[in-house]
């Protein structure tokens, strides 16, 4: 499993290719409902991973990513309604505009920790208000209906899978690259990182723009997926929180965590909205509290803990290896 992103590349690539291939073949077996759920999960995976670049890799927790999600969705929707451009181009345009919009958050990047988070709440809520009342663009509270995508939901499944796979691969590549190390340095100590030559302002801008663009792209696909969008849903505070929740549930800052978190989030939300709609906010709250208190790395941390426990009790024949074996396994885990 690629939990920490330090396993041998060939194993990761083989596993990744196998999963993507299996998912690409899956529509042959899945019924329409499950397939749609998968599509939604793909879009959320892409969004969560992109949030994680900023929130996990750089350590700047944003409570305002709904702004980019909404802009991506509405720009793509407007383009598709006004011009005959093919849907994928409209999605791309939505993602690009969202990325440029994210650049507008530049002044907030000098803030650290809670100050950044609170400033992003302000930015997100201000965007929500402006776009809700900008009726000529977003259709106001009554929202917009979108034209159907060529190929319908079936095609969206594959577009979603492609997006999720590409963003997962990018997350893994960033984690292993010099860029990933620089981001880690910024997270650990922004001043010290600057002293050793990491250009923290430029890198944070870059990551925020990339993160915003990908979230915008997933917002654009989401708009086509639902074929109806409405500013209070797209720009809502709950939307911003959902990205945070997915990453916290799965394991903030890890490569696979947001993927796991997004899957759990989508399933849990589907189940809760169907069975206990009156409890779903509070359940997320309790989940958040428990994870922060007991397992800050979420599901990933839990998996690592289980694996460590399994390795600590090797079969008797291997006991001779003793401490060497355990230190080697700790290295391999890379945490």
């Amino acid at each position: 499993m690629t939990l920490a992103g330090r396993e041998p590349p060939w194993r990761v690539l083989a596993g990744f290719a196998a999963v993507v291939a299996a998912l690409a073949a899956a529509p042959l077996l899945l019924d329409a409902y499950t397939q749609n759920l998968f599509t939604l999960a793909f879009l959320m995976i892409a969004g969560a991973l992109a949030w994680n670049w900023m929130g996990g890799y750089v350590g700047q927790v944003s409570f305002g990513h709904a702004a980019m999600f909404g802009i991506g969705g509405f720009v793509a929707a407007r383009l598709m309604l006004a011009t005959p451009v093919p849907a994928p181009l409209a999605w791309l345009a939505g993602g690009l505009v969202a990325g440029v919009f994210a650049l507008g958050a530049h002044p907030t990047l000098r803030l650290r920790g809670p100050y950044f988070s609170i400033a992003t709440i302000g930015l997100g809520e201000a965007s929500r208000l402006v776009f809700t009342y900008w009726e000529r663009f977003t259709g106001g509270a009554s929202g917009l209906s979108l034209p159907l995508v060529a190929g319908g939901k079936e095609a969206l499944y594959f577009w979603g899978l492609a997006l999720a796979a590409a963003v997962t691969a990018a997350s893994w590549a960033i984690r292993r690259s010099a860029l990933g190390l620089q981001l880690l340095a910024i997270k650990a100590d922004v001043d010290a990182a600057g002293d050793v030559g990491v250009s923290s302002t430029f890198l944070q801008d870059l990551v925020f723009v990339l993160s915003g663009a990908v979230v915008g792209l997933s917002g654009a696909l989401y708009a086509s997926y639902f074929s109806f969008i409405e500013p209070n849903d797209m720009f809502g505070f709950d939307r911003s929180i959902s990205f945070v929740l997915m990453c916290v549930i799965g394991g903030i800052g890890t490569v696979l965590g947001p993927v796991l978190g997004a899957i759990v989030f989508v399933l849990l939300r589907q189940f809760l909205l169907a069975s206990y709609p009156q409890l779903y906010l509070g359940l997320y709250g309790i989940l958040l509290i428990l994870i922060i208190l007991f397992e800050p790395l979420g599901l990933t941390g839990l998996a690592l803990r289980v694996r460590r426990r399994l390795r600590r009790k090797p079969p008797r024949a291997l006991h001779a290896a003793g401490p060497l074996a355990s230190s080697a396994s700790a290295n391999e885990e890379g945490c």
Partner: protein, 291 residues
């Protein structure tokens, strides 16, 4: 001209409420270095508690102040003992405390949905619509009462922090917790009490807002952000600074009606939050909040 006077009066009356909301957030951050994201949730809960006491027991909202304050204090103290105590603080805490307290807020919101549904409620008393003549205009009785209480709160806080032994201990812990342990101050107890006081102030602010505005379980998000603007603008450790910052925010918000369409005035606070954080993170007065 009469319109300007009206706006100025309503700005001053609003400023009192903003200051009351901000003291709790500022006190907790100043002493514990934790941004209490549950602040908005407690404001909402305070509003509901006041409404419930009035609706079920017929208790006047101003008479229920002691009840709300005591309940909120107890809630804050328990919150600290059970959850917040276990978190890393300051810069090392990173997003952990933010996310945890955010979880508490979600639970509070869900609790309010379960108990009172998502509908808007308002605390209406026999004198809710009554107004007093003042300088040729009319001023709502409720707003004057809220301002009066908002003037008592900082005075009481000042006496507590400057004139009592507990206040001295709180200020000492804010400066250097380790030294306090050395001279025998029970730091954990001070933290518990401080978190309780901060939460009690949030509950009081919620009760006061309930007499002025309609509320629902999502109430409190805007209030949290406004409190944060006031805390950052006013700087820490300055009771006067907080009051002036609350007045500035209220004046800008109220007078924005003159230049902005009404639906956008709600965004003014959010934009101001970002501008203040970026341009004057040190605040106008008092100690620098950032870094």
């Amino acid at each position: 001209m009469a319109r300007l006077l009206d706006l100025a009066i309503s700005a001053i009356l609003l400023a009192g409420l903003y200051a009351t909301m901000a003291y709790g957030l500022g006190l907790i951050y100043g002493v514990l270095r934790v941004v209490n994201l549950a602040h908005g949730g407690v404001i909402m809960a305070g509003a509901y508690l006041g409404w419930w006491l009035h609706d079920r027991l017929g208790l006047d909202p101003y008479l229920s102040i002691p009840i709300v304050v005591v309940v909120a204090f107890a809630f804050g103290a328990v919150l600290y003992r059970v959850l917040v105590r276990h978190l890393p603080r300051g810069a090392a805490g990173g997003p952990a405390s933010l996310l945890l307290l955010f979880g508490v807020w979600l639970v509070l919101r869900n609790g309010a949905y379960l108990l009172f549904t998502g509908n808007d409620h308002a605390l209406r008393t026999s004198y809710s619509t009554r107004a007093l003549p003042f300088l040729g205009t009319w001023v709502s009785v409720n707003r004057v009462a809220v301002l009066a209480i908002a003037l008592v709160v900082p005075a009481a806080l000042h006496v507590l922090l400057r004139r009592t032994y507990l206040g001295k201990a709180i200020r000492a812990v804010a400066q250097n917790a380790d030294s306090c342990t050395l001279v025998g101050v029970d730091v954990e107890r001070i933290y518990t009490v401080t978190f309780g006081i901060g939460t009690a102030l949030a509950g009081l602010a919620g009760l006061l807002s309930a007499t002025l505005f309609a509320f629902n379980p999502a109430f409190g998000a805007g209030e949290l952000l406004k409190s944060f603007v006031v805390v950052v603008l006013g700087g820490l450790g300055s009771i006067v600074g907080t009051a002036v910052a609350a007045l500035i925010l209220a004046v800008i918000e109220v007078f924005a009606i003159l230049v902005l369409p009404s639906y956008l005035t709600a965004a003014v606070g959010f934009v101001m939050l970002v501008v203040v954080l970026v341009v004057r993170p040190g605040g106008l007065f008092g100690e620098r909040v950032l870094g």
